[in-house]
């Protein structure tokens, strides 16, 4: 099957749209009618055909436009991509991981040919062809991390492992849920998670760190995280809060279904072989309330989750101001019928 790529925007006129197929495959994050933090890690070892869990690095209809949006953000603010000097090897590790995975998983879209260290990479959707020497940064137009993440959906952090901790020492972050790489770069695991409410007292970060320090080679893990975003905007960064923060006030009972989006992150964790660092891709998916309520199970469940969410979490996720309007809109899709277990909608073949 040849993939069709949308021509759409994630700012200004917001022409981003999900096809019915993209809605059906959306990684709905709630497996029950309520939500609380957990270390919900599972092996990232495939998943149902057609879902975003199936391939190592999911490529979907938004790929080309997302990469165009990343280029705009980077042109305005080059510090969205940073790599401390000791992280270059991890950047090469990650470049290899992505190129190998994409060329194997999407042979009609990407190809990689290796002749020793002399590699030939073809990215058909973006029209890129590059011959370069692996581990020689002078043969690429930019550093290896920037090079490959300009061609890979989602934000990406590279975590150095030392002193029994993880350090966010490199990354490409242009589509984040209100956090800043420029602020967090160089921080350790506890420092960059400091703003998260409740989870510290629950001991979640100690347990998660212990798990991550022992993350084995060739056995990636994944988890889902979520937030709400007004408008299908990728760059919801603190740096540009003045551009997107006020948009929260444009939501009305009439437009909430179209404007209010659920933003889901498919986070994966990979031990990198040469550097012993960990790659942390954070792949975002956006769907409007209108999109999601086309599937009755999701409409019912989303209403119950958002209605019953503890206030601190709604505050942290930044939607307290519009919560009554959102819950009121969703209540129309909740007839009180029990929902089935698991995240998948009842109506599709997924």
């Amino acid at each position: 099957m040849t993939m069709q790529f949308n021509d759409e925007t994630f700012r200004d006129d917001y022409t981003y749209r999900n096809s019915p197929e993209a809605i059906r495959r959306f990684p709905f994050p709630f497996d029950q009618d309520s939500y609380m933090y957990s270390v919900n890690l599972e092996p990232h070892a495939g998943g149902r055909e057609g879902t975003p869990f199936n391939k190592r690095f999911d490529v979907d209809e938004h790929y080309v436009s997302e990469m165009r949006d990343r280029a705009i953000t980077l042109a305005d603010d080059p510090l969205r991509c940073q790599s401390l000097p000791h992280m270059e090897l991890a950047g090469w590790d990650f470049l290899e991981l992505v190129m190998d995975s994409k060329a194997e998983d999407y042979p009609d879209l990407f190809s990689l040919t290796k002749d020793g260290d002399r590699w030939h990479w073809v990215n058909r959707p973006l029209g890129i062809e590059q011959r370069f020497t692996f581990l020689d940064p002078t043969t690429l137009p930019c550093g290896p991390l920037e090079y490959i993440t300009r061609q890979t959906q989602g934000d990406h952090a590279l975590l150095d492992q030392r002193e029994g901790n993880l350090w966010m020492d490199a990354g490409m972050v242009t589509s984040q849920a209100d956090w800043s790489l420029d602020f967090d770069v160089g921080m350790n695991f506890f420092e960059w998670h400091a703003p998260v409410p409740k989870a510290h007292e629950m001991g979640i970060f100690q347990r998660a760190l212990k798990f991550l320090l022992a993350l084995p080679l060739s056995k990636p893990s994944r988890r889902l995280n979520w937030t709400l975003t007004v408008n299908p905007r990728l760059d919801t960064s603190p740096e540009n809060y003045h551009k997107w923060g006020p948009e929260k006030r444009t939501v009305t009972p009439e437009n909430v279904g179209a404007k209010q989006h659920l933003r889901v992150e498919l986070q994966t964790l990979w031990r990198l072989p040469r550097s012993n660092a960990i790659a942390f891709p954070i792949r975002g998916y956006l769907a409007s309330m209108e999109d999601l309520t086309t599937l009755p199970k999701w409409g019912r469940r989303l209403h119950r989750v958002l209605r019953d969410l503890p206030d601190e979490l709604a505050d942290y996720k930044g939607f307290t101001v519009n919560r009554p309007m959102i819950v009121d809109y969703l209540s129309k899709f909740d007839d009180g019928v029990p929902t089935s277990a698991g995240i998948y909608p009842d109506e599709t073949g997924l």
Binding site: A214, P216, R274
Partner: protein, 315 residues
């Protein structure tokens, strides 16, 4: 645990006590690459007993065609190295776990100084290939008693930044002299007998090196000891740990689920809560804090033992 069956492709006698083993995939597939300092756990089926020993990888981390280790025969050990020396030959299948690195290079260093004693040379053999490939400044010092015992001599390249110290030839390694004139931003790594590690750490402290530029890996294998009895609260079992068996091995033999990785008291994976302890735990690990050790509320079953009336564990 991720493990695969590999084939012993080469066995080489390096010295009377040390053999080199090379493992390859039976169908010639590429193995995952790794970073210098990583180890693998090799599984040995020795009659009724399943032994799992950790060995540093000594081969080129960028070469996935095979993994190599060097094993020193410890006649007073629990039997793993003796098994490798006497029962393993070319062509044999052997289960090998995926590499894990608990002794990685800190790539922020401006220079890397590697100090090895005896069989402690093994992690550095892979690290020096990584450093060479990355073109990072380093020096390596290798101490051994005599030329005949120095297994590393056959494995080390000739290079000006590699220095061999043979005490029998009057060229004893002096950590203070090595560290005294290093540039700012140097990291030092040491692996070998306890005495060497303490010597290097002392020298670094005397010279006011920052704590986090000192890295060490004690080559720890579970020490044998007197048998002892342990009771498991969750599985309701009472087990006896034999003199040549570790507590972890006794748990595994009884089919009790327990996570593990390094099996040498360093990684923390098998940490277990102590519910009751009437007696004294012999803590041999490098994982628990001193306060945790003296409180006797936690134990690392991979290396630690017990003497006394009653030990109740949350397993």
């Amino acid at each position: 645990m991720t493990s695969q069956m590999l084939r012993v492709a080469e066995v080489e006698v390096l010295t009377p006590l040390v053999k080199r083993f090379r493992f390859e995939h039976p169908e010639g597939k590429t193995l995952p690459l790794f970073s210098g300092g990583a180890h693998v756990v090799v599984e040995m089926e020795d009659g009724e007993t399943l032994r799992r020993n950790a060995y540093s990888l000594i081969s080129d981390p960028q070469d996935g065609s095979g993994y190599e280790i060097a094993v020193r025969r410890e006649d007073r050990g629990r039997g793993g190295s003796r098994f490798m020396h006497t029962k393993v030959s070319e062509g044999d299948p052997l289960r090998v776990n995926a590499p894990v690195n608990l002794f990685a290079l800190d790539l922020r260093a401006r220079k890397h100084v590697l100090i090895a004693g005896g069989i402690g040379i093994t992690p550095f053999l892979a690290q020096l290939r990584q450093l060479t490939r990355l073109q990072l400044p380093f020096e390596l010092h290798y101490a051994a008693r005599s030329r005949a015992e120095a297994a590393g001599l056959k494995l080390l390249p000739q290079a000006p930044m590699i220095q061999v110290h043979l005490s029998e030839e009057g060229n004893r390694l002096d950590p203070g002299a090595i560290l005294a004139h290093q540039p700012l931003g140097t990291h030092v790594y040491t692996c070998g007998p306890e005495g060497l590690i303490v010597g290097v750490e002392d020298a670094a402290q005397r010279l006011n090196w920052p704590k986090d530029v000192f890295h060490s890996e004690a080559f720890l294998s579970p020490p044998p000891g007197k048998p002892f009895t342990v009771t498991l609260t969750r599985s309701g079992l009472t087990l006896t740990v034999a003199p040549n068996q570790s507590l972890l091995e006794a748990l595994e033999a009884a089919k009790v689920e327990i996570p593990w990785s390094c099996r040498g008291g360093a990684c923390g994976r098998c940490e277990t809560e102590v519910r009751s302890c009437k007696g004294r735990i012999a803590h041999h690990d490098h994982w628990l804090e001193d306060a945790e050790k003296s409180a006797q509320t936690k134990i690392m079953p991979c290396v630690s033992r017990f003497e006394g009336e009653e030990l109740l564990l949350d397993r």
